[in-house]
Symmetry: C2
Subunit: 946 residues, 2 copies
């Protein structure tokens, strides 16, 4: 073979088929199948079908829409469309199996399969009446990737394949347009050079730029035939110089090499990165679609475009898209020329527009989802190049889902299942405060809604570098797939070029980042790390604000406000609420948090961390007094001072929650967390004035703090003196907290306001620990109620289950506890033996190297930690039928974990306020996904958990 292979880091060259597969598989984040849309990643790879080419032409295709795994999304779509009578350029799909065989066969397509390539090209020749490599009327093809899950722009494509010095002449003759033929040829060579041979695009681009400068022309379209011939010559020289081989003239060599390049593109870094970001298994492989070229650049009766059947940003039911006349598809997607809105086509080519609208409407009904399509018009003939479910903003997704329910296209359950709960997050991000006054310094396209302020950076690396510490905005001429990590780390993206379907826009919408595209007024100078708007220069690190909903760019920070949630959103969430069995509570430590969560639909507080109240400026000195106390009496004195603060906090929270349950956890963190650092005290000691009359006293006081810090120092504070162990050794702390809770509750009760406190004892490992604390709770509660003359106050006493032993002995604990709340953060730490603070050193390595399938601090380790949760719940409920069981770790907001909680029969989940809508939706999806379990138990179980 004449080409140099790109290095393939991730794949062992000599590995046998089976081994490679296992290895690749092992490297994938395979979360439980039930909770993902891609449920059978290995199916295609393990049983070979024996059929490796799927032909489609003239209304008849070998494949179907169902064969996404084998044909890729694009191939399956082409087959489906062909079968549906949609005008599609004929071609064939080489299956994903071949891709895996290629990787299993030392990066070569097995000979027998390779041999069949000619057969299928001959079939294509027969259908089109043209011949591949025919100097008179050459058949040209595109070679595109296509995997089961859409990975836009992630993989390589080669167009105009089949051109060489001879067929060039044929194409020119046949189209009677030498310039067109030459333009195609130079595009082909540069694409091939870039995609297949791995030569940087800029190398080719600079030849054109130089030619244009030499010729003093600005537009590519002004290049004359001679210019193009010169460019082609130079392109070929570049290839010869860079690879040591001549550009291949043989169309079959071109085809094979391009096919293999597509296969290899499956494992290029940006594809790997994309898959990692989107949880796509890496062993699926890509198919290769070989399809007859149609030309949108055959003059002004030709064109190309992309579109959506509804607005993918808002969900509005409007025909939406862009096109360019006399252009190839790449010109639209790459955002190099700014395209026309698709409605314009109705004026320019009314019958084509009508046909396009009719076909896409049919496609939407057929697929029962918004369609994202590509089309080309070749000399007044319409060809559909692709259709697929359209990526959309989550706002749009919800509107479309609700509309489609109303249009009776889909059911409510389907609507619920169509939204990735994680994406709801985006609805909840702030937008610009309409009352804010600001000057707009530039305007671009409103490519992805939301608003964000941040410091500007000009490369993906810089954003990644600074993005963790500060809000960063990525500013680029235009983005490309190499920028994906940077986009992920940014709060917003601003580009100077590109339309609303450009790379930046598509990716930003998917990521839920605010994005302004094609702001043509800005000039980006990446080398100098600045951009210019007229005379205004904005340098790296300066702050700007983007409004992704309007396309406005402002200097500095503009204030933002919480989003108004749409009517469709409420409607949609109410359907989720109808369906779900799990209750959704929130983790809230302040009245403000609680209020926010109530707005988002929280049904109670599942975790109120009292210690967070200890850190406030006016309280921390008292807390320190308590810790430094030499006697129970001194400690009591400090606690007496804390009591009114705690009580006031609880009163406010109870008021906000209006009778919904409020689970309050007694003091949990080790005491040293409340003390200053030793170094700080040392500085204070050094600053003491020895002439000060009180010098000795002050010194002694500070030295005492140091001594106490040293006393409290622990080798493994995670497993040290914290949680109920504090309340046991210092019962007066628990007493004060219970007093504050019950006094606050009595205040509401006496005003005849509903109140539902639940007191939660943390870090219980042995039932005796719980008993000890329960005795205090009951005693103090009775005392306070008697004093306040409140006869009846319903409150519960329960415990966190966060120590493995507590789960193992949950039957004993449940004899005393009225509710359980799984503290899955600590439970994960102890069950897996991972210190969350320290695990970074090996946990990232573990996940990257597939030692662990995913981060157990993000999603519950169902096989290990999950066993304890299921066991704890079952033993608990066996011992106490009306035991309420929930979860309040950070996993409470993770959809996969919520699915797990649903399956093991928990009553509620509790998560941060902003995750509440996500949890509500995920809980509904869990119910639908696991519907086969008993629907009957729903009502009773829900009643129980209220």
């Amino acid at each position: 073979m004449p080409t140099k292979k790109k290095p393939q880091k991730a794949v062992a060259k000599k590995a046998p088929v089976k081994k490679t597969k296992t290895k690749t598989q092992a490297k994938v984040k395979t979360k439980p199948a039930s909770s993902k849309t891609h449920s059978q990643p290995e199916a295609a790879a393990t049983t070979l079908s024996g059929k490796y080419y799927y032909f489609f032409a003239k209304g008849k295709a070998d494949g179907t829409a169902q064969m996404k795994g084998l044909l890729g999304g694009k191939g399956a779509g082409l087959a489906e469309m062909t079968n549906a009578g949609v005008p599609v350029p004929p071609g064939f799909t080489i299956t994903t199996e071949v891709c895996n065989l290629y990787y299993g066969n030392s990066l070569e397509v097995p000979r027998a399969i390779d041999r069949d390539l000619e057969k299928h090209m001959h079939k294509l020749e027969k259908v089109t009446g043209r011949k591949f490599g025919d100097p008179n009327d050459p058949l040209l093809v595109s070679v595109r990737s296509g995997s089961k899950f859409s990975m836009p722009g992630m993989m390589d494509t080669v167009l105009n394949l089949g051109l060489n010095a001879e067929t060039l002449e044929g194409l020119a003759r046949k189209t009677n347009n030498m310039r067109f033929a030459l333009d195609n040829y130079r595009r082909f060579i540069s694409m091939f050079g870039n995609v297949v041979l791995g030569i940087d695009k800029d190398v080719f681009e600079s030849v054109i730029t130089k030619t244009k400068t030499d010729q003093r022309i600005k537009q590519d379209s002004s290049l004359q035939e001679n210019d193009l011939r010169g460019i082609i010559r130079k392109y070929k020289q570049i290839i010869k110089r860079k690879t040591g081989e001549s550009f291949p003239d043989d169309p079959y060599v071109q085809l094979r090499v391009a096919r293999d390049a597509v296969f290899r593109s499956w494992h290029n870094p940006r594809a790997i990165s994309y898959r990692r970001l989107h949880d796509i298994p890496s062993d699926l492989g890509t198919a290769v679609n070989v399809q007859v070229m149609v030309f949108g650049n055959m003059g002004n009766n030709s064109g190309t475009g992309v579109g959506f059947t509804r607005n993918p940003a808002t969900g509005d039911k409007e025909f939406y898209g862009e096109y360019l006349l006399n252009a190839q598809g790449e010109d639209v997607v790459a955002g190099i020329r700014n395209p026309q809105p698709i409605v314009q086509l109705a004026q320019e080519m009314p019958s084509i527009y009508k046909q396009l609208k009719s076909i896409t409407t049919r496609l939407e009904k057929h697929y029962r989802d918004i369609q994202d399509f590509e089309f080309t018009i070749e000399q007044n003939e319409l060809f559909m190049l692709q259709t697929r479910a359209g990526k959309r903003t989550v706002q749009a997704a919800i509107k479309i889902a609700v509309d489609m329910v109303k249009e009776k296209l889909i059911t409510k359950a389907e609507a619920i299942q169509r939204i990735d709960p994680q994406n709801l997050d985006r609805l909840l991000h702030p937008s610009l405060n309409p009352k804010a006054k600001y000057d707009v310094v530039a305007t671009g396209l409103p490519a992805s809604p939301g608003a964000a302020s941040g410091r500007v950076y000009f490369t993906a690396e810089d954003v990644v570098k600074h993005g963790a510490k500060t809000s960063a905005i990525l500013v680029r001429e235009e983005t490309n797939p190499d920028d994906i990590e940077g986009m992920n780390a940014a709060v917003g993206i601003l580009t100077a070029r590109g339309g609303r379907t450009s790379h930046a826009a598509v990716v930003a919408r998917q990521m839920g980042k605010c994005c302004v595209c094609g702001a043509e007024a800005i000039r980006v100078n990446t080398a100098r790390k600045q951009f210019q708007i007229g005379k205004l220069i904005i340098k790296e690190g300066e702050v700007i604000t983007l409004n992704g909903s309007t396309g406005d760019v402002m200097l500095g920070t503009v204030p933002t406000i919480e989003p108004e949630l749409s009517g469709e959103f409420s409607q949609f969430m109410s359907w989720a609420d109808e369906i779900r069995r799990l209750n959704v509570r929130t983790n809230a430590d302040t009245p403000r948090d609680a209020e926010q969560a109530i707005k988002f639909g929280a049904e109670g507080i599942g975790l109120c961390r009292t210690e967070h109240m200890f850190f406030a400026e006016d309280r921390i000195p008292i807390v320190q007094e308590m810790i430094l106390a030499d006697s129970p009496e001194e400690r009591q004195a400090a606690l007496d001072k804390l009591l009114p603060f705690q009580k006031k906090d609880f009163v406010k929270i109870f008021q906000v929650m209006k009778g919904l349950p409020v689970t309050i956890r007694t003091l949990d963190p080790p005491l040293h967390e409340f003390l200053p650092r030793k170094e700080e005290i040392r500085v204070k000691i050094e600053a003491l004035d020895k002439k000060d009359e009180e010098y000795e006293e002050k010194l002694e006081a500070l030295q005492k703090v140091i001594r106490r810090i040293e006393e409290l120092k622990e080798l493994n504070p995670m497993l040290g003196h914290r949680g109920c162990r504090l309340g046991i050794v210092y019962p007066e702390i628990t007493e004060m907290q219970v007093r504050a809770i019950i006094e606050a509750a009595c205040t509401l009760a006496r005003d005849k306001k509903p109140v539902c406190p639940e007191i939660m004892i943390p870090l219980v490992g042995h039932v005796n620990e719980f008993r000890h604390q329960k005795e205090i709770v009951v005693r103090i509660a009775n005392e306070v109620m008697a004093k306040r003359k409140v006869k009846k106050l319903d409150y519960l006493i329960g415990t966190m289950i966060e120590i493995p032993r507590a789960a193992l002995t949950a039957d004993e604990v449940a004899q005393e506890a009225e509710f359980f709340s799984f503290g899955t953060n600590d439970l994960t730490q102890m069950t897996m033996g991972f210190s969350r603070d320290d695990a970074g050193k090996f946990l990232n390595y573990y996940i990257e190297n597939a030692i662990l399938p995913y981060d157990p601090f993000v999603s519950i380790d169902q096989d290990g930690v999950g066993q304890l949760i299921a066991m704890g719940r079952d033993k608990g409920v066996a011992a106490r039928k009306d035991l309420k069981v929930g979860i309040c770790g950070e996993h409470g907001g993770d959809p996969d974990s919520i699915d797990f909680c649903h399956r093991v029969g928990l009553d509620y989940i509790s998560c941060s306020p902003y995750r509440v809508p996500i949890a509500r939706l995920a809980a509904a999806q869990a119910e639908l996904r696991n519907a086969s379990s008993k629907a009957s138990s729903k009502a009773s179980s829900k009643a129980r958990s209220k």
Copy 2:
């Protein structure tokens, strides 16, 4: 009542019966019943029998030997002896139930029961023909405690009760011996004053001392009637002064108050301390034995003594004991006068001696155990006061058990069950090296065998204070029960007075401490903190050596040697080995450890910690090089240097173990443990000479160490980067270790020597971690074997189960691992969420306050951690039938934990070399205790685990 009650700290005055019981019960270390001799602590307390007095007299008793719980050991013994026709002074026992009722009734005996006291005294009057309080021929009684388990000297006794100014005269008349009567009276008053009224003994003693000084006499026996009358007067004055009340003359008041004092003595601090040390439940209560006084001090035809049916120090079958003529029992036990060996009695009172020997021989056969008896001769009439199973040294216990099997008194299984495995420890302690030359500065009685060197201290407090830091020897005039904590903290005990049945001797033997008693040449001056032998003064903190087997006392440290284990010991252990199912291995890191363990019967190494080899002086710099390496190459270079060291160690260990399995664990501790402390490096930096040509280089090198220390710092190192997590991120470490192990094994294999390495991967939580390391092991092993041309080398690859997740997913892990070894230290830490290093702050509090029943780091937490062990074992064996499962945490040497391991079906336990015999015996006892389970599976299971 005229007497002032002693304060009773531990008991709430107003608590109702039930509550007190629960509380007391909760304070007890209740280990699982199966593994303790006292299996039903609460039986007596929960159901009341309605009969509170048990009478015994003239060959007929209400009670039996089986009623120990109700009557206490002494009461049951008296009943049994009475029934057996043994001459016992008549009397009755007030049951332990009454004690508990007393505590439940505000420290008063319920009136109805109290009323019956007179009735039983009248019965006694009828049997003896004397009357209680009769001025002519008064009935005198002793009032003694007696609980289910023997607590020698722990509780209070009152003798001669019933004496007052009137009955004194009657006694004098009846015995025609006023001096005798007066002596009894003064004894009674001082005992009553001390025991019942809580006045210090010394207060009474000083009156006698003063009288003797005034009269210039040395012996108590030289005191004349007038002296005694003066003493009695002064005693009564003391009582009046100290209590504000007169000494009670009414015999029934005396009796009731004394009875209550005995009840209260159950909760005195030394009884509480004794129970805690001996794991005796605190809710058993004590019985009160009221028994007619017989007098050993009625002249030279009277006497008193104690004895054993066999030698309790050696086990030799010889009549053993001591007596004093014309003395009461207290004189013997308290060691105030040095008594005569019992064989002497054969000369002095041949018929009494014969009768005594015959009775005690019969008692031994009856009870099938060595008897510890007390007797009194009253004017040529023999009375047995008590008999019970004799406390003995463990050497004696083994000899007696083996002898009794030979005598067909007991079975082998009974013999095995009679020895507390914990006590075997004492056999394994060093004795003096016979080749050592030393001068004996004093000689006492050989009261408890073994030898020890240590610094001398003169109070229990001082021993407790220093005993943790240094070996301490307690030196006392004589010991008393208040010294018990000090004796426990000491390595040896030396007293100036008291015989081989004195308090010091009995307690020391029980504790397995070496003890020299009655070294009359020494004069102890506690106030000056020194003792004197002639002119030689030994001050606090100076070192002496005791030989408890000879009674010798030496200055300074005398070298010691390992004990020779007796023939009986081997015989006994061989029976244990016949019986047990569990294999016993040892934890050994060095050839020396391994050798020691083999001597003690270890059947393999269950844990060889390779990192301990890293700490040697010649290796640690290389280990540090490895840790500081900047690249895998540098790291490899350091590892290459370590390889030969590790290999050499393994060769030696394999040679010692002669083909027995050797489980080698790969590197476990976090790397920072191998680096110096940051402060040390800082000191080195400060010491650098700036003029040194290499200053910059040296500084940079040291700063690098600091940086690395900081990089390696972890918040919770227990849950950090350690165990297999190291071998995964740095595979070259595992590679080196495996290479060393397999090369060492090949060295033996090539010499045709048997070798059985088992490679153990630590801290596995997920099967993938194990897979990763196993791949390395297999690859390197194959490589080494190929290189060394060793075709067959049997080795196993297994894992520690020490992370809860590993136990939960043991089925998955067992698919890859060939053996499991439960690392119960870490498993306990993670399952219970206790950092062993930090738990002190609350764990002691937990145990003292019965939040936890016992220390889970000493004995496996069977309810929690035990569940994971059972689960891990069962899941593992289900997945791999021939999976070998053991335990190598420190629990491996704890008998209760061994019983647990037996019950859950482990194959082996591994413990420190010195615990191996204990483990062998405990394993045999576990088999016997759980014999009802399938005996049939024994053979096969044992074969499997070999």
